[in-house]
Amino acid sequence: MGTNLFEKIWTANSVMERPDGATLLFVDRHIVHDATSQGFDKMEAEGHSLRRPDLTFGLADHYVATGNSTAQRKPSFDQMVSRLDAESRRWGFDSFGPGSRKQGIVHVAGPELGITLPGCVLVCGDSHTATHGAMGALAFGIGASEIAHVLATQTIWQRKPKQMRVTIDGTLGQSVTAKDLILALIGKIGAGGGTGHVIEYAGSAIRGLSMEGRLTVCNMTIEAGARTGMIAPDETTISYLEGRDYAPKGEAWDRAVAHWRTLVSDDDAVFDREVVMHSDEVAPMVTWGTSPMDVLPITGTVPDPSVAGSDDERKRISHALDYMGLTAGMQLTDIRIDRAFIGSCTNGRIEDLRAAAAVVKGRKAQVPAFVTSGSGQVKAQAEAEGLDRIFTEAGFEWTDPGCSMCVAMNGDLVPPGERCASSSNRNFEGRQGRGSRTHLVSPSMAAAAAVTGHLADVRKFTGSRS
């Protein structure tokens, strides 16, 4: 019986086992950010010090200032950002903060800088660390106690998760993106559908995605409850990595590439669960409720709680519609929005901004709209391509890189009761600010909503594909 991608990395990084079956994994890359200070506090409170500064990297993202239009900044936000800088100088690890071209959201800048490499075990105190699995890494989010453990030992105890393979074959329809694929999958298996599993993505639709698209798919794997997502490295991965800041060079590169080519699930590898989807099933998607699994094609209507399968589900849908201010049966395209947000670790990459700009070009924003690059490099690239001018001429606010309005921790938030078409990852109650109402969409769908003032089918704005 062959082994799968996950098992290959798990075995290679297993240091020892405990009698209870937990495995001590060696951590090849640990990224800390500006909301990780509790981990440093705990490490020091227990009398330990940073064991491997050379394998630790800092990126400021959660609290950094991004836009101006809604910003409610507090001095304490800046203190969180400078605390990361202080820890990096104290312990001697590389860290990038506001103003650096290398700064950005951990899950955008990490892969972009070549910190994330195929076959590595990577952890970070953020659930969206699942993103990095798109490069063939085993990457997962951890809590503050585990951060302290990794800082002090460069290892982490884990129980071996089950393995699920999601195979998506087919080609993507017009204006259907990686975001729509992952939203459709979460809708299919549910917000807890992946609990206890890692998911390996396979199939021609996944192989056909760019590196950016793959990162989007793995990013939202956590919204299905899975520990992480993974995609075997291939030519797309290797050409993306070549020449990146921390990627190996010269002879080391050749040796690394030879190893990376072995990081695939064997033909006879076995998975605990298999899910198969066809990309033909997927249209541009939008969420209507308060869980990412509350998702439908944009051509749909707001669901009717009375047809729910169970009493609990009926109550849950009713509550979600109440919170979202929606009526059962209304066309999704009739839902008016108050603002739009394009950015986040899910969709703040150059390809995302290009897709949104293609819709925005020559049109005007009907509502306040925010475009936040995922990193300094993305922002610079977009400006070199003139995307910033397309957005600003349409009345969008062009902001600095960071998590911004996705998690609303830096003062950029959606005011109470307002409805936002957002390219982010969570539509939880209060996620984008107390009382905020979030509709998760792809970047081009967020752009289409911004220029019409309501949720809209982006296919009406893009030419048909031959």
């Binding site: 079956g21 409850g225 520990r227 107390r434």
Partner: protein
């Protein structure tokens, strides 16, 4: 970590699915340090109106549930972000135990690192407990970690827990100190791992 041996206390029912960490502790509270405490942050958007007055319809604002130390919730409890503040909020408010059909993986790990005992319990049993708590508000739940038992009125059951986590909870042990006792094993592994994958071992030299 505060040791956990056994606990008995009033239980509050909150039988919703997918109670996420943003709901448990909204992001605006994450600036605080551990020392500041998070008791008031717990379920803040459900417990308080925008002007700060307590809401009337939330279970923890209704006596006797306002003194609850055991929470009984729906499946996939603690989904969403990895913020350990969610666990600190529950613990600082006074909760020692959460019972639910299932827990999100990261939240599950964070809880056991902080002396908050999470007990995965079949949905039918959770439903039964919630009915008891609603019919007889103020019903206490007794949990014995060593025996791995839960008692609620006439109902009792046993639960599973990772033996290592159980020992850490019973003794209040820190995992980091325990791991560092195996430092030489880690160092040996590290050296071999680095030789076979030099590009991973030395990111700054490439």
């Amino acid at each position: 970590m505060k040791p956990f041996k056994s606990h008995r206390g009033i239980a509050a029912p909150l039988p919703k699915s997918n109670i996420n960490t943003d709901l448990i502790v909204p992001a605006r509270y994450l600036l605080r340090t551990r020392k500041d405490g998070f008791a008031d942050a717990l379920f803040s958007d459900l417990r308080y109106e925008v002007d700060g007055t307590p809401t009337s319809d939330f279970v923890l604002n209704q006596p006797p549930f306002d003194t609850a130390t055991v929470l009984v919730a729906g499946d996939n409890f603690g989904c969403g972000s990895s913020r350990e503040h969610a666990v600190w909020s529950l613990a600082d408010y006074g909760f020692r135990v959460v019972i639910a059909p299932s827990f999100a993986d990261i939240f599950h790990g964070n809880s056991l690192q902080n002396g908050l005992l999470v007990i995965p319990t079949p949905q039918a049993t959770v439903d039964q407990i919630c009915s008891t708590l609603t019919a007889n508000p103020g019903t206490e739940i007794a949990v014995d970690l060593d025996a791995q038992t839960v008692v609620c009125g006439n109902l009792s059951y046993t639960f599973e827990i990772d033996p290592y986590r159980k020992e850490c909870l019973l003794k209040g042990l820190s995992e980091t100190a325990d791991t560092l006792r195996s430092l030489s094993t880690i160092e040996t592994f590290e050296s071999q791992h680095g030789q076979s994958r030099p590009w991973l071992a030395a990111p700054h030299q490439s």
